[in-house]
């Protein structure tokens, strides 16, 4: 009985993860603007990988394997959002036509940084 519950749980989690991967791949190909694409890619890297790996952890034979898989999940949750944050920051700092795509505050990040450097 417990085996069946584990199997069903694993299958559901894996299928959900794969569906999210598919959606994120579609998003990367269909979106035109860099920040939208980055959002789609980051969703696959966090939610998709997270669901797939949690599914694997549920079906793991012993506790240590499951713990290792959960460590991998934590690693992904730390690294993928940070990398997409860096991409987004690069786009915001370098694109001079930013106000075409989003509401921009008067002070951009680069200006803030320059002011900080002048103060220091």
């Amino acid at each position: 009985m417990i085996e069946w519950i584990r199997f069903i749980l694993t299958a559901l989690l894996m299928i959900a993860g794969l569906v999210i991967f598919g959606i994120s791949t579609l998003g990367v190909f269909r979106f035109k603007y860099a920040v939208n694409r980055m959002h789609a890619a980051a969703m696959g890297d966090t939610l998709g990988v997270g669901l797939c790996l949690v599914g694997l952890a549920v079906s793991a034979p012993d506790f240590f394997v499951a713990a290792k898989i959960l460590m991998v999940v934590i690693f992904f949750w730390l690294s993928a959002p940070v990398s997409s944050h860096l991409l987004c920051r690069l786009e915001i700092e370098t694109n001079e036509r930013l106000h075409k795509y989003m509401t921009v505050h008067e002070k951009t990040l680069a200006q803030e940084r320059e002011e900080k450097e002048e103060e220091a």
Partner: protein
């Protein structure tokens, strides 16, 4: 009008068109269309690039002048002829030696050839007993064939040296210091758009860098027990150092890792590797029992010299990976 390709070439063209379909889509992309019709004058009047071109022209002129002066020297022709002769002779000798060696090798895929039966059977049957390494691959590459691995480490070291020669921007040299200063100060300098003092990246790196480094150490130290070893562990540790540099900048990594540290660590590691291999060659050739115990297979302190060799390779690979990254990105360490 381009001619229409035929046959197999047509398929290759169609595939290429499919792979480059993104280019056509970029044409309609807002980003480029807007960058295109603005900013033309800004980019055309780029004084930095003019300066760079002038500098390049000066350099070229200087090289040409030096060549002319050299060509006017007395023994130039004779020296050049001797050099060409020497080159051809050495090449011919190498070709003859290699051809002779290939001729005396057994035929490829010969079933009676020891490599195809005896050697691999011996590795599998007696590998654990003779090397003490549970991971048979590590036992092979760091014990039976450790000489090859020494060569690989040396190749990596030589590669790093060549990259240093080619890409290092020497701040001390009076010839390059003005240019290096211009590059550092200019708004188009290479590091201008790279993240510096990004709080999110720094906080994450504070968590991730120690974890990555410890994982690398684990992979290196468990090389004789589980998959992994010096090369993969070293690459992981090198990636950790790269993350550290990206987050905290070159100024803070220089507190513990400079060019001098790199030289010291790599030289000590290569020398230790060569010395320990010398020892095992000496004992093996003279049929002396090695005094280094093999230990119980499966324990962390087992398999004799393999652990030491793994650590040495790990150090070399870590330092070299980081050196490659620093050289390519900045031109100095």
């Amino acid at each position: 009008m381009r001619e229409k390709p035929e046959g197999l070439l047509k398929w290759a063209h169609a595939f290429s068109a499919f792979m480059n379909a993104g280019d056509e889509r970029l044409d309609n992309d807002l980003v480029f269309s807007q960058v295109r019709d603005a900013d033309q004058d800004v980019y055309e009047a780029d004084s930095y690039e003019q300066e760079w071109a002038e500098h390049e022209q000066e350099e070229k002129q200087e090289v040409i002048e030096r060549l002319e002066r050299w060509r006017a020297l007395k023994g130039y022709r004779a020296a050049r002829r001797a050099y060409a002769l020497l080159c051809v002779t050495i090449c011919m000798i190498m070709i003859v030696v290699l051809l002779y060696t290939v001729g005396s090798l057994p035929a490829y895929g010969d079933p009676n050839h020891p490599i195809n039966n005896e050697v691999s059977a011996r590795y599998i049957e007696k590998g654990l007993q003779e090397t003490g390494a549970v991971n048979i691959v590590t036992g092979m590459i760091l014990d039976y064939r450790a000489f090859d691995t020494l060569g690989e480490s040396t190749v990596l070291f030589t590669g790093a040296m060549v990259v240093l020669f080619l890409l290092r921007a020497d701040a001390q040299s009076h010839k390059y210091s003005a240019l290096a200063q211009t590059m550092k100060d200019s708004p188009h300098s290479e590091t201008f758009y790279e993240p510096h003092r990004d709080v999110i990246l720094q906080k994450t790196a504070m968590i991730l860098v120690p974890v990555v480094l410890i994982f690398g150490v684990y992979v290196v130290l468990n090389g004789h027990l589980s998959p992994g070893g010096g090369f993969s562990g070293g690459a992981i540790m090198g990636a950790g150092l790269m993350l550290y540099v990206t987050a905290f900048g070159f100024a803070s990594i220089r507190r513990f890792f400079t060019y001098k540290t790199y030289q010291f660590v790599v030289l000590i590691a290569l020398l230790t590797y060569a010395m320990s291999k010398c020892y095992s060659f000496y004992t093996g050739a003279n049929h002396i029992e090695s005094i280094i115990p093999l230990g119980t297979p499966g324990a962390i302190l087992s398999s004799g010299l393999i652990l030491v060799l793994n650590i040495c390779v790990g150090f070399v690979v870590t330092c070299t990976m980081y050196a490659f990254y620093a050289m390519f990105r900045k031109g100095e360490m």
